[in-house]
């Protein structure tokens, strides 16, 4: 997996580049590093390899996930604008380096073959995110968020590790295919074999650890506070890269190691999925802050992604990838607009992140208003955007599953999508219909290009989803 090596090395390189070049060059070089990693990643296409003594395995699915992650990383780096101009209190070289390391961790999480690599990847990603969350050192909210994230995340990782240990104890293997073989040799369903209790306890514990990382209810309580407290650019990174990596890691584990005990993890996951959808969507309705609303929206999208993990049809690979991609690009445009508008309109010395901050955006900034509208429509799942087809594929998967349970999930999911439309239209209404004064905002070129790319991609995937869907 050359992309992981490249990302690790370029992370160190960008640490040292911080001593010599200015901020603008750093942005360009980091972007270049990520694109190089993306190229190296794609070079493995159609080759199934085991790497480093069966620690990692690249196949087309993992390469696709890696590509989504690296694309998101590249887009987030592109809108970072070198983290403001505060020379004394911001450290762009370090932020970029940590983001590159985090991306390396995320790639490990989607290509792991050995449970140890899942843990190592998860830790690299999480520890990087703890640091980035608290990177706005003088902001109390940011500090609070970092501490909360760290304490809760450390517990979740501990629980995951305990689960890994128990599964190893029961099956005698860290290798996910090896575990899968032992598990499938057990009797179908819930009957116990020797050491079965330990295996089941282990699976549930691993499950909890991973659900925490993708912020599914009832393990979502950290999400709104952390997303709101973290600097917006890192919130963007968190809600795209971390979520994609978490879902991919979970999918890889459940589809390779534990399909034989579907009854064990499937039943709780049904409830968790419904709860996630309901909690995420209903709570998002009541939010006053746009950023917090997006945090709850990310919880609800975790719910949609869980549906397709549950559905287990041959199309699941494609659906989950398409949905991650559609969600990531729409989220990046939404956060990008929020970031640039809120920074331009400080309230009490801090960026104003409420819906009111967007009032009247369309008057002087029609481009930003359009970008925001497309991303909101895509997140809500309105036709002609990528989000519509993302939801469409997922609902089709759920529908094609014969289990009557899925009709129930489908009802909840469709109802909750309808709720989603309500709160996703709030910013659109604020932008076009409310009165407000926002002067014309000067967009840096790279920012503008990024927004054009994400918006165009959202629309293109909404008109011709087969372009990408067939690739998966």
């Amino acid at each position: 997996m050359n992309a992981i090596i490249a990302l690790s090395l370029s992370g160190i390189a960008s640490l040292f580049l911080g001593f010599s070049t200015n901020r603008k060059n750093l942005l360009i070089t980091t972007l270049l590093f990520v694109l190089v990693a993306l190229g190296l990643n794609l070079a493995d296409w159609n080759h199934e390899y085991f790497w480093f003594n069966n620690m990692l395995k690249t196949d087309n699915l993992s390469i696709n996930f890696s590509s989504v992650i690296l694309l998101s990383t590249a887009l987030v780096v592109a809108i970072s604008r070198s983290f403001g101009d505060d020379e004394e209190h911001t450290h762009p070289a370090e932020y970029y380096a940590i983001m590159l390391f985090a991306a390396a961790g995320a790639l490990m999480m989607v290509t792991y073959e050995n449970m140890i690599m899942l843990f190592v990847g998860l830790e690299i990603l999480s520890v990087s995110m703890y640091i980035l969350t608290g990177s706005d050192k003088r902001n109390l909210r940011s500090n609070e968020a970092a501490l909360k994230y760290f304490l809760m995340g450390a517990f979740a990782t501990g629980i995951l590790l305990f689960g890994v240990a128990l599964v190893y104890g029961a099956t005698g293997s860290f290798n996910i295919h090896g575990i899968g073989e032992v598990v499938s040799r057990t009797k179908k369903g819930m009957e116990l074999f020797e050491g079965g209790v330990i295996l089941y306890a282990g699976i549930i514990l691993i499950f909890i650890g991973l659900l925490f990382k993708v912020s599914a209810a009832p393990f979502h309580f950290w999400t709104p506070d952390v997303y709101e407290g973290a600097p917006t650019i890192f919130t963007t990174f968190m809600s795209t890269v971390v979520k994609t990596a978490g879902v991919a890691a979970m999918y890889r584990l459940l589809s390779i190691s534990f399909p034989a005990v579907y009854g064990l993890w499937g039943n709780p996951l049904v409830w968790i999925t419904c709860l996630t959808l309901i909690v995420g969507n209903i709570t998002a309705v009541y939010q006053q802050s746009f950023k917090r609303m997006l945090a709850y929206s990310s919880i609800s999208h975790a719910g949609y992604l869980l549906i397709t993990i549950l559905a287990k049809t041959p199309n699941t690979n494609g659906s989950i990838l398409f949905y991650s991609l559609a969600y990531s690009i729409a989220t990046i445009s939404a956060f990008a607009v929020l970031m640039i508008v809120s920074e331009n309109k400080p309230k009490d010395g801090k960026p104003d992140e409420s819906f009111e901050a967007l009032n009247g955006l369309s008057v002087n900034n029609p481009f930003l208003a359009f970008v925001l509208t497309v991303s909101m429509l895509s997140l809500a799942g309105i036709p002609l955007t990528a989000g519509f087809f993302g939801k469409f594929f997922i609902f089709t998967d759920a529908f094609s599953n014969v289990s009557p349970l899925f009709k129930n999930i489908l009802v909840v999911a469709i109802l909750m999508s309808a709720v989603g439309v309500y709160y996703y239209f709030k910013p659109i209404i604020a932008v076009y219909m409310k009165k407000g004064e926002i002067a014309e905002i000067q967009l840096p070129l790279i920012y503008k290009i990024t927004l054009i790319i994400t918006t165009a991609l959202t629309i293109i995937l909404g008109i011709a989803p087969d372009l990408v869907k067939n690739m998966f």
């Binding site: 160190i12 640490l15 040292f16 001593f19």
Partner: protein, 122 residues
Amino acid sequence: MNYQPSDYLPIIVQLGAALAFIVLTMVATHWLGPKRHSSKKDDVFECGIESIGDARTPISVKYFLVAILFVLFDVEIVFMYPWAVNFKELAWDGFVEMVVFMSFLLLGFIYVIKKGVLKWEK
């Protein structure tokens, strides 16, 4: 490889003994020891010198940095031991891997020095 839960009985006994010892000594010292109260005896910090100020004074962040760096380079030694034990079996592969590991660490050290973390007076 076929352990019964009862095989772990010695561990429970050991655990019980350890807990019992702690409880016993705590209770015993509580009952056996004489108690004297005076303003000096009840002082928070009894060492003969009158305590000044609060224990919660801000400490320079440099101490923490040095401490955390110490832990980092200390833990790294842990990886050297298994390598040293298996030095011959690992042969050149192991050597190359160790060199890679050490060079990463060294880069980190150079970064720390260039950042001026170890400059005490700044």
